[in-house]
């Protein structure tokens, strides 16, 4: 393998270099220059993110274990973007209470991103598993990052236990698939997979394993506690980037490797989607803590994302990627505002948000846009994302599923409006005082708002994703 071949692995190589540079830089920036160190790291991640948006030629490496095509590139670019935004939002936390440990945080974050890159690009179940573990284990450390808080430690333990358990389930499924096909390459498995009980069991275990990562009902029980206990930036990362990566690889595997078992996994997903959306919504209705609320709403959102799986034409994968992109902007805008409030005032109850518009109109508007986008209200991006997901399902003729999903999106509108109501309509004796968020937070919120407002109006983006997805579909 020559150097030029290796360079095709551009995204991961850049991330690894960034990782090493940051590791070394961490030693040289002393305690008095931590802010500069943070800025330096953010700039590095920014460069990686920008470069990942530049088109690259399709390549296959390591004897077919690693593949990067247009689809994978877009997916990785979205994940990088999400990480960059999370890093920006973590600024006042990293430069404040966690000042001495910002290096650790950034390193762990980047390692998970590398793992996700390999996971999304894998064409071999071993590569996939390595990527998955690399993406998961540092996350447990991140969840337990606030060492002085028992809740954070609890979140870390819960996360690692369930991650290990789900990996076990997944591996068990993989071993059955291996027993059936005698190979771990996606291509070989695709050719040899059939509807024998072994393959069926393997598929079900595989879906269950990944369902833990995406927190699909009934594999969601860890989500709320971990999301609540973990530092808020980590929660944002878990609910957006980590979830997005798992969705992407599940999409790739189901739509390539197991495409011939369509009749089997369609009904499974059908049931899982209905359960996920409905239960996610019902739990979100009752939450008073903003972090928990966003956790449950993100469960429901995951159910919506899965809708796109029920379409094996280009439209299905395209809408999934499109929605995840929109979801990155919308959910991170919501988390951004919640983070800003938490950093500033330490408050994270929904009732604390009362009268927020009177004191902080701009942040309230950002939060409102985020809520509308998550609920799917036009003209913001979420509407287009959801509408296309419904279109994808309707193309297959599953109108009943569309109906169930749209009715659920109205239920979700109720609790998203509760946040808007608290900020705009309710009055409070002691609202959160007026404050200015710091520069990185502002940048991240501005990027999110631009994304939320403009994605729908720029129709070319979706057309581009359709083209990308048609490559991906034609590979099969």
């Amino acid at each position: 393998m020559s150097l030029s071949d290796l360079l095709l692995m551009r995204n991961e190589l850049m991330l690894i270099s960034a990782l090493i540079i940051i590791l070394i830089a961490d030693l040289f920036y002393g305690d008095d220059r931590r802010n500069q160190f943070y800025t330096f790291s953010v700039v590095l991640v920014f460069i990686v993110t920008v470069v990942s948006f530049i088109p690259q030629e399709t390549a296959t490496l390591f004897g077919g274990m690693y593949h990067v095509g247009p689809t994978q590139m877009v997916m990785k670019a979205i994940l990088n973007l999400g990480t960059f935004l999370v890093l920006l939002q973590a600024s006042s936390w990293l430069n404040g209470p966690q000042k001495g440990r910002s290096g650790e945080f950034i390193l762990l974050l980047i390692s998970t991103l590398i793992g996700m890159g390999y996971m999304v690009s894998s064409q071999h179940f071993l590569m996939f598993f390595l990527g998955l573990e690399l993406a998961t284990i540092p996350l447990a450390a991140l969840a337990a990052f606030e060492t002085h808080q028992s809740k954070s430690a609890e979140a870390g333990i819960k996360f690692i236990l369930l991650a290990a358990f789900s990996s076990g389930v997944l591996l068990f499924g993989l071993s059955m698939i291996y027993a059936l096909s005698g190979s771990m390459y996606f291509e070989d498995v695709m050719l040899s997979v059939n509807d024998s009980p072994l393959a069926v069991l393997g598929l079900i275990f595989f879906i269950s394993g990944l369902a833990f990562k995406i927190s699909i009902v009934p594999f969601h029980l860890w989500t709320a506690d971990v999301y609540e206990g973990a530092p808020i930036s980590v929660t944002a990362y878990l609910s957006v980037v980590s979830k997005g990566a798992a969705v992407f690889i599940l999409l790739i595997v189901l739509h390539t490797v197991f495409i011939s078992l369509l009749d089997l996994w369609f009904p499974i997903l059908y049931v899982l989607i209905i359960l996920t959306i409905t239960l996610g919504n019902l739990f979100a209705l009752r939450q008073s803590n903003v972090k928990r609320f966003l956790a449950f709403s993100s469960i429901a959102q995951a159910g919506f994302i899965l809708l796109g799986f029920i379409n094996t034409n280009a439209l299905g994968p395209a809408t999934v990627i499109y929605f995840v992109l929109i979801y990155v902007f919308s959910n991170l805008a919501a988390f951004g505002v919640a983070t800003a409030i938490l950093d500033e005032s330490g408050k994270q109850k929904l009732t604390d948000y009362k009268g927020f518009y009177d004191t902080n109109p701009k942040l309230s508007l950002v939060m409102m846009l985020a809520m509308f986008s998550l609920a799917g209200i036009p003209p913001v991006a979420g509407f287009f994302g959801k509408f296309f997901l419904f279109t994808a399902v309707a193309e297959q003729g599953y109108y009943v599923l569309v109906l169930i999903a749209v009715i659920n999106s109205i239920v979700s509108l109720y609790y998203y409006l509760l946040v808007v109501k608290a900020m705009f309509i309710d009055k409070s004796e002691s609202p959160i005082p007026t404050f200015q968020s710091n520069f990185p937070m502002k940048v991240s919120l501005v990027i999110c708002v631009i994304g939320i407002v403009s994605i729908g109006f720029y129709g070319g983006l979706f057309d581009h994703l359709m083209e990308v997805a048609s490559h991906f579909v034609s590979v099969n």
Binding site: T391, A394, Y399, L413, V420, I425, G459
Partner: protein
């Protein structure tokens, strides 16, 4: 004579931007008034341009067409154009948003935000009426609904939070049902996979009967909820009673008509066979709604509730006319959309003005208003008479056309419902005359009422504009009926 329909969206947008940059929140109303006056002139010009174009022999189904590709891969276009029906509705919207701004002239609380949401709402309505593509139609529909939540929630009265949430969820729930119908039409719009959302293109093909029967209920109920279709009308009384004056005007005046317009343009036009087959079934609910709304209005004491229920009844007549599926009845239905829009806006405007003086909306607590505020009281009498269908006002023209169209059907089933619908007019006389007698006539309630003032200049603008429109249609309906009848031609061709 050309006309750029995008202007109808650009002017409200510019007004929004103008309000946003005003520093002094007192100036917001001035900017809004200027913007909406320009918009009113613009819609008048649209009417003139449309008539001129028709007179010069342009028989195209839709005029001033513009078409831009938006999402190429799904064949979604931003396609706009108007026919006579849309022109009528756009003029109505222009008049009502204009009067709505003046009706909120003395608003104290957060005026800047209020006008921004109000004008955003009207932008959605204008966009809805010029859309030819079901995707944009749906998009504008939701844009018109969602500002309602904050408008009622922040500036409303009474149980505003409950009413705002109920209204928003029910209307958005309706739009959820609508999505299924729209997607169903989309995926049946072409036998060879060249699906389209464009209403004009779909009207050239015939959707398979099975699909029509499956999706017509989604379209009818989805649009019907916003037209207060029984039993989904429950958002309407609470919503209207809690909303601030201008919002009630706009909502009862224009938004409730989106439903009727949508049923006509999507349901009846694109799914004619299903509409014929299912008219009997839905007529049952519409008939109940018409008489139920009227009877409920009799039992109410709160002025706003009386009018909200009367709106349920009168908007029910629109749906009733639509379901008759004869040309005359359809013309009447569209006339009723415009007529009821003007009358109910006048009603809600007047109620707001009276409430701001007497601080009560309960009929029994007011007496002898005619003596202290003759202008407002006389206007209230005019609104009442127009509403119960006195000849000379627009209500008569619309309702008589609907009933003539309905009597074309000779089956007993239809006859029964027509008689029920006509009976609602009699009931209307009861609740309207009762209010006029109790509230306006008689001796003054007490000495404090002598302090009450009559209408101020901005209130007169509202009242005079609306009364002028109501009487103009009542006296000379032909300009409007011709506009509507010629545009119904393509729809009738489908039957």
């Amino acid at each position: 004579m050309g006309f750029n329909l995008n202007l109808l969206l650009i002017i409200p947008m510019m007004t929004l931007a103008g309000i946003l940059i005003t520093k002094d929140s007192g100036k917001a109303r001035v900017v809004a008034a200027i913007g909406m006056s320009v918009q009113l002139l613009l819609v008048m010009w649209l009417w003139v341009a449309f008539a001129a174009e028709r007179n010069s022999g342009n028989e195209a189904e839709v005029l001033f067409l513009q078409d831009y590709i938006w999402f190429k891969s799904l064949n979604i276009h931003y396609a706009i154009g108007v026919d006579g029906i849309s022109v009528g509705m756009i003029v109505l919207t222009g008049v009502i948003i204009f009067t709505g701004v003046f009706a909120s002239w003395t608003l104290k609380e957060l005026p800047k935000e209020f006008f921004m949401w109000l004008i955003l709402l009207s932008t959605g309505v204008f966009g809805f009426f010029i859309s030819l593509d079901m995707f944009t139609l749906f998009l504008f529909f939701e844009i018109a609904v969602i500002p309602m939540y904050l408008l009622i929630g922040i500036w409303g009265t009474g149980r505003k939070e409950y009413a705002a949430m109920k209204l928003t969820l029910m209307l958005m729930g309706a739009s959820a049902i609508l999505i299924v119908g729209i997607l169903g039409i989309y995926f049946n719009s072409s036998p060879d996979g060249n699906w389209t959302f464009n209403i004009l293109e779909i009207s050239k093909t015939t959707i398979p009967l099975e699909a029509q029967m499956y999706f017509f209920p989604f379209i009818f109920i989805g649009f019907g909820v916003i037209s207060a279709l029984f039993p989904f009308h429950t958002w309407s009384p609470d919503g209207h009673a809690s909303a601030p004056t201008a919002v009630s005007m706009l909502h009862a005046g224009v938004l409730m008509k989106l439903g009727g317009y949508g049923i006509l343009k999507v349901g009846i036009y694109l799914l004619p066979e299903a509409a014929t087959a299912m008219a009997d079934f839905f007529l049952l609910f519409v008939g109940i709604g018409v008489i139920y709304g009227a009877l409920s209005a009799v039992m109410q004491n709160d002025l706003k509730y009386i009018n909200a229920y009367s709106s349920v009844s009168h908007v029910g007549l629109i749906l009733f006319g639509l379901l008759m599926l004869t040309k005359t009845a359809l013309t009447g239905a569209v006339l009723q959309m415009i007529s009821h829009g003007l009358i109910t806006a006048l009603f809600f405007g007047l109620i707001g003005m009276i409430y701001s003086r007497t601080h009560t909306r309960i009929v029994g607590e007011m007496r002898g208003l005619l003596k202290v505020m003759p202008f407002l009281s006389a206007a209230y009498v005019i609104a009442g008479l127009a509403s119960l269908g006195l000849p000379g006002f627009s209500g008569f023209v619309a309702e008589i056309t609907i009933f003539i169209g309905a009597f074309v059907h000779v089956e007993t089933y239809y006859r029964v419902f027509t008689v029920i619908a006509v009976a609602s007019i009699v009931v209307a006389a009861v609740y309207i005359l009762r209010v006029i007698g109790k509230m306006l006539m008689g001796e003054l309630k007490d000495e404090t009422y002598k302090q009450l003032t009559d209408a101020s200049w901005h209130e007169k603008v509202v009242v005079v504009t609306l009364i002028l429109c109501i009487t103009a249609i009542g006296m000379a309906p032909f300009a409007l009926t011709e506009l509507i009848r010629s545009s119904l031609e393509p729809i009738m061709m489908r039957f």
